[in-house]
């Protein structure tokens, strides 16, 4: 689809939506001049857009509707329900055409005759006389349907009787609305009402089905966001559904652009030249830096989702856990419209689930205990989300027994996580913090709900891996609150982990061409260095442990394992390692403070077990 057609569809859908909402407002508030102007302008711009694209039938229909509204503006025509119905019918027809255009890049063959008929209806002089006569015949007192109305209804039937595909929901919604308008126009109010109810139900069903990214991709060329979808989004801005894969591609390219920018930035900073090149490059470089940062922000903002989906899943899960443990619990959610990066939303599911399990299993007292303490029998867990600057804050608060500090202190001492002397001097928050230490668990018996082998240490590691923090507050016999603070967006880098010299290192995945294993005899000594031949090419072999001044684990392995890497300047080398780990998506943090000057290191990240993974800068290693 060319960019003009794409822009045409985006604008036209926005205008149809705008006109629809304006017309519905006008029906209740016919004297609202700005809204009338806005509706008029929407049809006018639709006409202009159709003219540019040479969709003559659409231009014809929008022209007729625009004239009708122009007459209303001029005071020559009263804004009756019939006028609104005519305009709405035009919009429904345009909506159908837009679907068609999206799939076929052209209007259907019958577009001209339909446009002609609708335009004639609109121009019919009978309109100017206020309301149609009260209905005289028909099931709910509607007037007899005109032949073209019957034809229109039949068309809708034909439209929805095709086998279901990706465009079905759109067609069903649009057909339903056309029928509703026809019936309303001829006074069949009850029938129109029935359709309205079905449409509302239909919308609810659509709303609760999983969103696009979990559904299989629709066949190419099918309109996927039909008119019914347009109505789903109550927020005024027109949205465009984009496959997640495409967004990820843009995110990935942006990431690589930023890597390139960092390299350029480095060169400009260290430039030492007599030609004043540095002076010339600096402003350009500053602009480049600013633009890439803005680009990254804008790109990541396309990947945000409301937390609603995650929160909704917890309602069921909490209910099930509470039933199983026979503790009446009610989950109250708040701020589910808060948005966060898709990566964050998805990665938060496990940690929140774990905290909820803990709350139900350990936090909330058995019913009898609650009654004795004068608490309501049904416990309440609040799951709240809010946006706080660049962060998303999620809190899980229960009204249970609170955490027993003495028990934590004892356990920590018993597990030798802390000495009795240190524990005695610890302030309360620090004692609570002991819960997050690896290997800590106060549960007397592992239940199958919270004892799944992950403790609060795993929760903290998961959150910190995303660049966030988790804090726990607890008041005895009042309850416990766990707060997660996470960045609104994250940029993930894929790394390959390698073992060398008894340690684990990461290498940016995009720098790795392949991994190879070959017998030690194939290593060619060249002076003091070594090389290997790979598909006829000789490339240097660098022992990673030696390059990093670590002790090689095995002096002379029989099989050489190496990752073939390419530096930014195109230079290729093989890094000899002890073994390969796996792929990992991480948030790369640049080295700070004293470590920031070390060459050969691109950054670091936290591993799931709390260890620091150092990610190597391939270019520096090869130098």
């Amino acid at each position: 689809m060319n960019e003009f057609l794409e822009q045409f569809l985006i604008e036209s859908r926005e205008l149809v939506e705008q006109a629809n909402s304006d017309l519905l407002t006008l029906e209740h508030d016919p004297a609202n001049r700005p809204v009338l102007d806005s509706a008029f302008r929407a049809f006018h711009t639709l006409k202009g857009a159709a003219g540019i694209m040479e969709f003559t039938a659409m231009a014809r229909l929008t022209h007729a509707t625009e004239d009708l509204l122009a007459a209303v503006r001029a005071g020559d025509q009263v804004l009756t329900t019939a006028v609104v119905n005519h305009c709405l019918s035009s919009l429904d027809q345009i909506d159908l055409w837009l679907d068609w255009i999206e799939a076929e890049e052209a209007l259907p063959e019958d577009a001209d005759s339909i446009a002609e008929r609708l335009a004639n209806d609109i121009a019919s002089p009978s309109l100017s006389h206020a309301e149609p006569e009260p209905p005289a015949a028909g099931p709910t007192g509607g007037t007899a349907l005109a032949d073209d109305a019957i034809a229109l209804l039949k068309e809708q039937l034909a439209l929805i009787s095709v086998p279901p595909d990706a465009g079905s929901s759109g067609r069903l919604g649009a057909a339903g609305r056309v029928c509703r308008n026809v019936l309303r126009h001829f006074g069949y109010l009850e029938e129109a009402g029935d359709i309205e109810t079905s449409l509302a139900l239909f919308k609810t069903v659509l709303l609760t089905t999983p969103p696009h990214d979990t559904a299989p991709a629709p066949p190419a060329g099918q309109p996927e966001a039909g008119p019914a979808d347009n109505e789903l989004q109550s927020a005024p801005p027109r949205t465009l559904r984009v496959e997640v894969g495409r967004i990820e591609e843009i995110v990935k390219i942006t990431g690589e652009l930023i890597v390139a920018k960092n390299a350029l930035d480095h060169i400009v900073r260290s430039l030492d030249d007599p030609e004043n090149l540095k002076q010339k490059l600096q402003p350009l470089n500053a602009r480049f830096n600013r633009l890439t940062a803005e680009l990254l922000r804008a790109v990541l903002a396309t990947r945000v989702l409301p937390l609603q989906r995650v929160f909704q899943r917890f309602l069921r899960l909490v209910r099930e856990m509470a039933l199983r443990l026979q503790k009446p619990v009610r989950l109250v959610t708040e701020g589910e419209t808060t948005e966060a990066d898709k990566v964050i939303v998805e990665a938060l599911f496990e940690p929140i689930l774990h905290v909820l399990r803990n709350a139900i299993d350990h936090g909330i007292e058995p019913s009898a205990e609650r009654q004795a303490a004068g608490k309501p029998e049904t416990a309440v867990i609040s799951l709240r989300a809010r946006r706080d600057g660049d962060q998303v804050v999620i809190e899980v608060e229960d009204d249970g027994a609170g955490i027993d500090l003495a028990a934590i202190r004892e356990t920590a001492i018993r597990r030798r996580l802390v000495t009795p002397e240190a524990a005695a001097q610890m302030p309360e928050p620090e004692i609570l913090d002991l819960i997050f230490l690896p290997g800590f668990s106060t549960a007397r018996a592992l239940s199958d709900i919270s004892g799944r082998g992950v403790g609060m240490d795993a929760v903290r590691a998961a959150v910190e891996r995303l660049g966030g923090r988790v804090v726990l507050r607890s008041v005895k016999s009042v309850g416990t609150t766990v707060s997660f603070a996470l960045p609104f967006t994250v940029m993930m880098t894929r790394v390959l982990t390698l073992h060398a010299g008894g340690q684990v290192f990461g290498v940016p995945f995009e720098d790795v061409l392949e991994t190879v294993q070959l017998p030690a005899e194939r290593v060619i000594p060249i002076g003091g260095t070594q090389a290997i031949t790979l598909r006829g090419k000789t490339i240097p072999l660098i022992n990673l442990a030696c390059a990093l001044a670590l002790e090689a684990t095995e002096a002379a392995p029989a099989v050489i394992k190496a990752a073939v890497v390419r530096a930014g300047n195109g230079e290729v080398a093989a890094l000899q390692v002890d073994g390969f780990g796996g792929q990992l998506d991480v948030i790369l943090k640049p080295m700070e403070g004293l470590l920031s000057g070390i060459s050969g290191i691109a950054g670091s990240t936290l591993l799931g077990d709390g260890r620091v993974l150092i990610v190597l800068e391939v270019g520096d290693l090869l130098r």
Binding site: F8, A49, G51
Partner: protein, 125 residues
């Protein structure tokens, strides 16, 4: 001679189509775009275009309003008001504001004629 031209239209599609015509007619001209009256006046102050194309129908201040203001601020600047409504009233008001009237959708021919005239006026000034 290469000039700077400002295209004012709230529809991006319309701006795209004018821009496409301009790449054929005046490939060496610099194109500026604005989506509303405020942006248009800002672009006028910041970038000082030589020629302005205005869509008549825009939310807020319409094309004729801007044309009136342009006549006051920059008398002699070639300005065209583009509208799909070829109504005598609009055509007359455009001519009162010293602006040319061009029908929408804009044809290559109509735009070429206006630009020819504009170039002559700019060269004479």
């Amino acid at each position: 001679m290469s000039y700077k031209i400002l295209i004012v239209d709230d529809s991006k599609l319309a701006r795209m189509s004018v821009a496409k015509l301009l790449t054929t007619l005046k490939p060496d001209w610099t194109r500026l775009e604005a989506a509303n009256a405020d942006d248009a006046l800002k672009a006028l102050a910041d970038s000082q275009p030589d020629v302005v194309l205005l869509d008549f129908n825009m939310p807020g201040r319409d094309g004729l309003d801007i044309a009136d203001e342009l006549r006051r601020r920059h008398p002699g600047m070639p300005v065209a008001v583009i509208s799909a409504n070829i109504q005598v009233e609009i055509v007359n008001r455009a001519s009162d504001a010293g602006a040319a009237f061009l029908p929408k959708p804009l044809t290559e021919q109509a735009l070429a004629a206006f630009l020819r005239d504009a170039e002559q006026r700019l060269a004479a000034a």
